[in-house]
């Protein structure tokens, strides 16, 4: 067992344990903080996969923006159901069965696939994946259109979010 494998196993354990805490813990602030642990674990995995840029974006965008947004939303909607009431609905066992079946089905399908236990091809020393990624995002032959559409989507979503959450005058 190599050092990389040990790092992977520790990270995977942390990710799964904190993900279970996210979906089961009672206090929503704690759930949001456990989500941050999960996201950090995913960033470590991206670094293990030689995707350094994705790892940085994971920390900056997911932890820096999305997780903070969750914490703000929890603080704005607090009081409700903090100490009283069930956190899971009455059909939670059915949800657990569906989730277990999903995992079983995915595992069964993947284990029948020939590339399941593939090993990573070596990166040739000259390739700079960040440069490749940057070129692909602005190249007309590659992904410039989806990239621009994604930015318009983000702008539209943010304008919509401000409109929806805005308190109009006259409303209590």
């Amino acid at each position: 067992m190599t050092a990389l494998q040990i790092i992977f196993l520790i990270t995977a354990g942390v990710i799964l344990a904190s993900a279970v805490m996210v979906v089961t813990t009672r206090n929503m602030i704690h759930a949001a903080l456990w989500l941050i642990v999960t996201l950090f674990g995913a960033a470590v995995l991206f670094a293990l996969l030689d995707a350094g840029f994705i790892a940085v974006v994971q920390v900056v965008v997911y932890i820096g923006a999305i997780a903070i947004l969750f914490i703000f939303a929890v603080m704005l909607t607090r009081r409700e159901m903090r100490d009283r009431g069930a956190q899971l609905n009455s059909e939670w066992w059915l949800s657990a069965v569906v989730a277990a079946l999903t995992f079983g089905g995915l595992f069964f399908l993947l284990s029948g696939w020939s590339g399941f236990s593939a090993h990573a091809p070596g990166l040739s020393s000259g390739t700079d994946t960040v440069q490749l990624l940057g070129a692909a995002l602005v190249s007309p032959d590659a992904y410039v259109l989806p990239f621009e559409v994604a930015s318009v989507l983000l702008l539209a979503a943010l304008v919509g979010a401000v409109y929806v959450a805005f308190q109009k005058k006259g409303e209590e």
Partner: protein, 102 residues
């Protein structure tokens, strides 16, 4: 070296945990947290396939970037809706938000 199967099994497990969260939690913010877990497992899968199939083709990372953008948009709109509903109905429990239910 780490075989591809480890990443795939991990992301399948993470996806299932997120799915359980989406289906079982009553708090609307917790449902969005479950969706974030599912999106993250998809990203791990995309980057793992990029690395293990053909690292000279960058498509997997581009898809992951676009998933980031869509996740940010989704969570902004979702949380705005939750806050708006909370302001009007004073609840964040998904099953009590039934204005469209006849």
């Amino acid at each position: 070296m780490i075989p591809l199967s480890w990443y795939l099994v991990l992301s399948a497990a993470l996806f299932s945990v997120g799915l359980f969260g989406v289906l079982a939690r009553r708090n609307a913010v917790a449902i969005l947290l479950g969706i974030e877990l599912m999106l993250n497992s998809v990203n791990i899968n995309l980057v793992a396939f990029w690395r293990y199939l053909d690292p000279t083709r960058i498509d997997g990372q581009v898809f992951a970037i676009i998933v980031f953008a869509v996740a940010a948009a989704e969570v902004a709109v979702g949380l705005a809706l939750v806050i708006s509903v909370y302001r009007r109905r004073n609840t964040v429990v998904a099953e009590e938000i039934d204005m469209l239910k006849w």
